[in-house]
Symmetry: none
C-alpha cells in the first residue's frame, strides 16, 4: 500500500516536472530555459529534478518519448479502425494535426526545441520519427499492393514527403502570430497528396 501510494506520488511529481519543462521550454526556448525555472514551475527544489531526470537534455528526450509514444499508438489505432488505405492515411494526418493543435506549448517544443542539434536530431530521427515514417510507409506500401495507390514512387520518398508536408504546416502554425486552425488544413493537404496538383480532364473540381 505504502509502495503504491509512494509510486502514485512519484508519478504525479514526474508528470508535474515534465509539464513544467514543456511550458518553460516553449516560453524561453531550450537554451535559454533555466533548470531553476523548471523546478519552480513544478514546485520542487532544484536538486529534485535530478532525482527524476538525468539532466536538462534528458528532460527534452523524456518530453519527446512521453508524448510521441502515445501519439504513435493513437495514430496506429486510428489507422487500424479502417480498411481503405486512403482512409488510413487520412486518419493519421488528422490525428497528427489534432494532437499538436491541442497543446500549443507542446507543439512548440516538438517543432522547434526538439531540433536544436544534430546529435539530438539523430536520436529523434532514429527513434520516434523513424517509427512514424515506418507507419506511413507501411500504409503506402499496403495501398500500392492492394492497387489503391500508385506503385511507381518509392514508399520512403512518399513517407518523407507526407511527413514533411504535415510538419511544415504545423511549424507555420506554431510560428504564426495569428494561426489559422490546423484541423482545417487536413482536408486540402490530403486532397493534394491523394489526387495530385494537376487538373484532370473530365473530372474538374
Amino acid at each position: 500500500m505504502g509502495g503504491a501510494r509512494d509510486s502514485g506520488r512519484r508519478e504525479r511529481r514526474r508528470a508535474a516536472i515534465l509539464r513544467a519543462a514543456v511550458d518553460v521550454f516553449a516560453k524561453r526556448g531550450y537554451t535559454a530555459a533555466r533548470m531553476r525555472e523548471v523546478a519552480q514551475s513544478a514546485g520542487v527544489a532544484d536538486g529534485t529534478l535530478y532525482l527524476y531526470f538525468a539532466g536538462k537534455e534528458a528532460l527534452l528526450i523524456a518530453i519527446l518519448e512521453e508524448h510521441a509514444e502515445g501519439f504513435l499508438a493513437r495514430a496506429k489505432r486510428d489507422a487500424n479502425r479502417v480498411a481503405d488505405p486512403r482512409k488510413k492515411l487520412a486518419a493519421v494526418v488528422s490525428r497528427h494535426l489534432a494532437s499538436l493543435e491541442r497543446d500549443r506549448a507542446l507543439a512548440h517544443v516538438f517543432q522547434i526545441e526538439l531540433r536544436h542539434s544534430r546529435r539530438f536530431l539523430r536520436q529523434v530521427a532514429r527513434g520516434q520519427v523513424a517509427k512514424y515514417l515506418h507507419l506511413i510507409e507501411r500504409i503506402v506500401r499496403d495501398g500500392a499492393a492492394s492497387g489503391a495507390f500508385r506503385g511507381d514512387i518509392p514508399p520512403e520518398v512518399t513517407a518523407r514527403a507526407v511527413f514533411g508536408a504535415i510538419d511544415e504546416l504545423v511549424t507555420g502554425w506554431v510560428l504564426a502570430t495569428r494561426p489559422r486552425p490546423l484541423a482545417e488544413q487536413a482536408g486540402p493537404l490530403l486532397a493534394l497528396l491523394m489526387e495530385g496538383l494537376e487538373a484532370r480532364l473530365g473530372a474538374q473540381r
Copy 2:
C-alpha cells in the same frame, strides 16, 4: 587601385570567414562551435571576426542571407525559363535539391543550425523562407489560373506542403549516414505532388 585591391582583399577575407563558419557550425553545431575555431579555420585572429561580423549570431544570419538570396535568384531564373507551370515547379524543386546537395556542410547549417531557436526561426521564416513560399505560391496560383493546376486547394497550403516535402527530404539526406543522392528524389517527389498518390483507372503506372 589600392581601394579596389583592398576591397578585393576584404571581400576574400569575408568569404573565408563565412566558409569557416559554415564548416565549424556544421561540424560542431552552432552552440558548441567556438569563435576561436572559426577564426583559426579562416586563418585570422579572433578579433578579426568582429571586424567583419557583429558576433556569433550575425555569422549565422550572414550565412543564411548570403546563400538564400543567391539560391532564390537562381530558382526564380530557372522558373522563368519555362512557361508550363508544371515545368516551373519542377525547376524550382530540382534547383532546391541540387543547391543543397552541392554543399553538404551548408545544407547541414540550413536544415539544422538555422532553426535552433524560435526567435531565430521567426527571423528566418519572416525573411527568406517567406520569400521562397511566395515564389511557389505564385507558380501554383498562376498554374491554377491557366487551368494546369487544380483550383480547389488554397495555394498557401500547397506552397507549405511542397516546401515541407522538399525540406524533409533534405533533412533526411543531411542526417543519413549513407544518404542516397538527392537529385534522384526530385522525380518521384514531383510525380507524387503533380499526379497524386491514388492509382488512376486505365492509366496505371
Copy 3:
C-alpha cells in the same frame, strides 16, 4: 536552530568575502583585482561570490556602505557625548583618523579605490560623504548659533574644508612609504582649523 546557525554561517561567509575584497582591492587596485583572487582569498568558489554580491562593483559598494555606516554612527555618538561644539568637532576628527588608521587596507580602498569613476563618485558623494558633510555642517551651524564659532563663513564651505583637510591627511598617510601616525596629526589640524593660521598679538604660542 538550523536557521539561526545557517544565518550565522551566511553572515560569516559574507564577512569573509568582504574582507577578502578589501584586501585584494587594496593590494591590486580595483581594476586590476580579479574576482578569482577575491574568491580564493575568501576560501570560496568563484560562483559563490555571486550568491552574496551582485558583481564586482557591488562588492565595492558593499565595502563602502558596510563601513561608512558604522563609522558615521560612531562619529555621531562621539559628538553627542560632549556639549561644546569645539569638542564635538574634535571628536569627529579624531574618530575619522582613528577609524581609518586601524585598518590600512580599508583606508586604501576608501581613499583611492572608491573614487575610481565619476559615476561611482556621484553615488559615493550623494550617499555617504553627503551624510558626513551634513554632520560637520550641523556642528558648525550649532556652534555659530551658540556663539562658539564664527558666523560669517558659510557652513557648507567650512564642512567641505574640514572634510577635505582630514581626507588629504589620510590620503597622504595611505600613499606614504613611511607614514607618520595619523592620530598625531589630529591635534595640529584642529588647532589650525579652530584658531586659524595667523599669529595673535598677546597670545603667542
Copy 4:
C-alpha cells in the same frame, strides 16, 4: 624652415590630441574612454596617437604635467608679486580655484581621473602635488619665521590641510549638478584658514 614648420605642425597636432584626451576622459571617464574616440576627436588616425604619446596612460600623465607645470609657475609668480605671507597664500588659493574653474573638463580630469589607481597616484603625489605642497609649505614656513603665522603647527600638516580643503571644494564643484562659482569660495576659505573657526572676543564678525 621646413623643420620649423614641421615642428609647428607637430606641436599643434600634439596639442589637439591632448585636448581631445581631456574632453574624452572627462566625458567618459578614463577607463571607459576609448583611444579611438580620442583619435577621432583629435582628427587623426588611431595609430597616430602612438607617434605622439606612448599609450593611454601616457596621455593622462601628459595632461597632468602639461597643465600642472603652467599652473605651478603661475601660482609661484602670483605669490612672488606680494610680500605679505597672508597675501601670498591668498594668491595661491585664488589662482588654484581660478585655474580649474576656467576649464571644467580639465578640472574633472584633475579631480577624478588622475586618481584612478594607487600606482598612478604615487606618480602624481610624488610629482606635481608634492611640488605644490612644497610651495604652500614654504609660504607657511616663511610666514612663521616672519611672525605673521603661528609657529606651533607643523608646516607639512598645514600645507596638506590647505591643499585638502581647496581640493575638496573643487571636487564638490566638479561633481555638483548646479555648482556655485568657485571664485566666490576663495574668500570664506581663506578667512577660515587664516583666522580660524572660533569666535574672537571683542572682534566679532
